[in-house]
Amino acid sequence: MKISALIMMLFAWGVIIFFTGKFLFKALRTKKEEE
């Protein structure tokens, strides 16, 4: 794979996986008050 394409893909994937994981993890730990 071309290095420039790989960098752009990993950048996009990295940003999205980081924030999705971070927020999902926090949301699952902080459940609804009734749960």
């Binding site: 071309k2 996009a12 999205i16 999705t20 459940k31 609804k32």
Partner: protein
């Protein structure tokens, strides 16, 4: 303020997040995003895409969740009442009509597409595509929709049967309620969708040249999708395309997010929920959506073919043929997972369109959940008829353009201005942050007040005045040299003026033309909007005479 008659609630936080993410994840994640990326700078597209997501997408999600939860506090579960509760003007509730109109009209044609995916799951499993050539599979799609029959009217009998089945499934889910219907459907549908997506992405990314007839490594497709053309970043067309993609992928401007948020308690978090659902959608779109259709298609068909054929119909006309290279059993599995994934993406979105309409019917006309579901179903089928029978004549496209594109942008622009400038930025900021499980940086207060509306104005103006070929530089050059502004055929003005259509007569030799169908469809959509506005007017008047405090009635 009056109490909600019977308070429905979400059963769990993850159920709510999956439902909102499911609302956002749709067919566009897998079919529209890759096409937009390859046509707008490849890997460089991700820069304006992520900038738009952080400065317009996420703030707009917060705005819509906040409007919804604020309206829910007063017993409003659809946008006319929600917007009415944000200010004193009596006109606000009429602007909220968009939140009913778009859901109803988009559901009509969206459920039709959804039914195609269900039908294709069936045909993949039963081996219909087995042994067929590229042309035969493409022809199957045309025959399925009864296209190219030489008549103005299409009679797609099989598609109609699957459409009825899809509508019935949607109504069944909706009639079960928020926690037992929508939430359970999302908890089942979203994980299956993601698993199917991961399965296909792994298969796509491990394709090698010579493997099952592939001519290229799938990495060639990834290079094509991700190789950055940084000079494209100076082109306004690319930025508008990125902002437009973010806008449509998040399903904002519809009223469905508002409705889901209305079932939250006053102090329940919306900041973290909105961000999580938004990023889940991005995960599905960029990581899964970007790793399936382009790598597989490039591996078998090459770059030149993709450049000229990438688009929505490729998912139906081409993918089943490509799966045939993998042998009968694997082709059936791949077809089932691909169209199953699209079907689950469709269902979780279409039920989100049904709920606001049903909530409005329940609140305004005291209908039971089942009766409101049936009424929604009847209205959806009625509105879908022109999309089905005049598909080729342009009715479907008109629904998609005016209801599924133009109205969404207009509503999102209006609601953000109302929320920030009428309700007030301080109230808005307090509303977004109440009960928040994350601390939103203060910087976003500025973004929500100025940047997000500016982005929306840009998308709105961009779509209204889009010049030929999206070439803004040349368009301004023409304008300043006295040659006027040349509108693109797919711009709002271009559509209204029928740009690109040489003969705009309704009848030629006594026979109806496509222009007649297109204009009648526009009139139908306008009448639908007026009827919903009238129903809002009468519902408010009825409540005004019944309630002590009409402006906070239980609509």
């Amino acid at each position: 303020m009056t109490e909600i008659k019977k308070k429905e609630e979400w059963g769990s936080r993850i159920g709510l997040i999956l439902a909102v993410a499911g609302n956002a994840v749709g067919l566009g994640n897998f079919l529209r995003f890759p096409a937009q990326a390859v046509q707008n700078g490849g890997g460089a597209f991700i820069i304006p895409y992520l900038v738009s997501f952080f400065l317009m997408g996420i703030p707009l999600l917060w705005i819509e969740w906040a409007i919804g939860r604020h309206g829910g506090k007063y017993g409003y579960r659809s946008t006319p009442g929600m917007l009415d509760s944000l200010g004193k003007s009596k006109l606000l509730k009429y602007f909220g009509v968009f939140g009913i109109f778009t859901n109803l009209t988009v559901a009509a044609y969206y459920c039709y597409i959804e039914s195609w995916t269900l039908s294709y799951v069936w045909h993949s499993i039963t081996g219909t595509f087995s042994g067929k050539t590229t042309e035969q599979i493409s022809l199957f799609f045309s025959n399925f929709l009864d296209l190219g029959n030489g008549s103005l009217i299409n009679f797609p009998s099989e598609a109609v049967i699957f459409f009825v089945v899809s509508i019935a499934l949607n109504l069944w889910i909706l009639s079960r309620g928020i926690s037992k219907g929508i939430e359970i459907a999302s908890k089942i549908g979203m994980p299956i969708l993601i698993l199917f997506g991961i399965f296909l992405a792994i298969r796509a990314l491990t394709l090698k040249a010579g493997d099952h007839g592939a001519i290229y490594d799938s990495i060639v497709g990834l290079n094509f999708l991700w190789e950055p053309q940084f000079d494209s970043l100076s082109n306004p067309k690319v930025w508008l395309a990125a902002a437009g993609q973010i806008f449509f992928t998040l399903s904002v401007g519809m009223g469905s997010i508002h409705c889901y948020a209305a079932y939250l308690k006053e102090k329940e978090d919306i900041a973290l929920n909105a961000a999580t659902a938004g990023f889940m959608n991005e995960f599905v779109e960029v990581i899964l959506g970007g790793s399936i259709i382009i790598p597989i298609a490039v591996a078998y068909l090459g770059l030149d073919w993709i450049k000229t054929n990438v688009g929505f119909e490729m998912g139906f006309r081409t993918m089943p043929m490509l799966f045939q290279h993998w042998g009968p059993l694997f082709a059936a599995v791949a077809g089932m997972t691909w169209f199953g994934l699209l079907f689950f993406a469709g269902v979780t979105s279409s039920i989100a369109m049904g709920q606001p309409v049903m909530a409005y019917l329940q609140d305004a006309f005291n209908l039971s959940r089942k009766k409101s579901a049936l009424t929604f179903g009847a209205m959806t089928i009625l509105l879908a008829l022109p999309c089905i029978f005049f598909y080729e004549a342009g009715a479907f496209g008109e629904f998609d353009y005016w209801a599924g594109t133009f109205s969404l942008v207009l509503f999102a622009l209006g609601e953000s201005i109302i929320f920030v400038w009428v309700f007030g930025i301080d109230n808005a900021w307090e509303e977004i942050n109440r009960g928040a499980d994350i601390k939103i940086p203060l910087f976003f207060k500025f973004v929500i007040k100025y940047i997000t509306p500016t982005f929306l104005v840009a998308v709105f103006v961009g779509s209204t005045l889009k010049p030929v070929d999206g070439n803004w530089g040349a368009a301004f050059g023409n304008l300043f040299s006295g040659n006027g502004w040349q509108f693109a055929a797919d711009s709002v003005i271009g559509n209204i003026l029928n740009v690109g259509i040489a003969d705009t007569r309704w009848f030629i030799n006594g026979i109806m033309t496509n222009v007649f169908i297109i204009d009648m469809t526009r009139i139908l959509l306008f009448i639908a909007f007026l009827l919903i506005s009238a129903s809002v007017h009468f519902a408010w008047r009825k409540k005004k005479s019944a309630d002590v405090k009409p402006e906070r009635s239980s609509l």
